[in-house]
Symmetry: C2
Subunit: 133 residues, 2 copies
């Protein structure tokens, strides 16, 4: 495994509505796993959350993450990656969640936005990756 994502599995990050499961670290060092939407741009895997959520707090404290991205048509085909959060930004995060809503839900605007919510975009530098299936 190295930081290069196998070309054969790039469809899971780009064209397919493939859910990812994000592993982060809790304050006590134990793992947390939650489902996220994701995409890929400029060499980074990108995810999106809202400020103050557990995974947001975890990634601000500890940049090391893991992601497992599963083919929606075949649960035995997936891409596993490990890497680090190299950028956390609110700039462009609203447009990013809208583009993820377009990808996953087929709508132009993220429909679950809450009034006081501040969206955050995270860029993951992939360090190791491997595909299965």
């Amino acid at each position: 495994m190295d930081g290069t994502i196998p070309e054969k599995y790039m469809d899971l990050l780009t064209s397919k509505k493939a859910f990812a499961h994000l592993g982060t670290l809790m304050p006590d060092g134990s793992p947390q796993v939650t489902p996220v939407w994701c995409d890929y741009a400029d060499g980074f895997v990108r995810i999106n959350s809202a400020k103050g959520r557990q995974k947001d707090r975890n990634m601000r404290r500890e940049p090391r993450v893991s992601l497992c991205v599963t083919d929606p048509e075949n649960p035995y085909r997936y891409l596993e990656l490990r890497g680090s959060i190299v950028e956390i930004t609110e700039t462009g995060a609203d447009a990013h969640i809208d583009s993820l809503a377009k990808k996953y839900l087929g709508v132009d605007s993220y429909p679950y936005r809450q009034a006081a919510e501040i969206r955050v975009m995270y860029k993951i530098q992939v360090e190791t990756s491997s595909g299965m299936g």
Copy 2:
């Protein structure tokens, strides 16, 4: 959140062919996420792997794990749990992987068994859990 799994989400561990994503800790403390089959018996969530795999080595060294179990009919409905591995055993592990193959594949015997493979069953004591969707 406490160690009691909400009754409303128990179907994800029992009747549904719901895949789980398991978070373990690598030797350097970073998270790893991989898909697993799971079931529930005698108050424990149970998973199965083979001796020597990365997740097996991780769980033998560090018992703290996280699991996200997703409804196969609705990716926005899931159960998140965190807990600890309280038992790692080869006893009954072959019968257990066969019963998981029955649950997930509808076959009587696990079809992917490899010649030199030693199956291992892990019991997770749930410490916190919460459902979404």
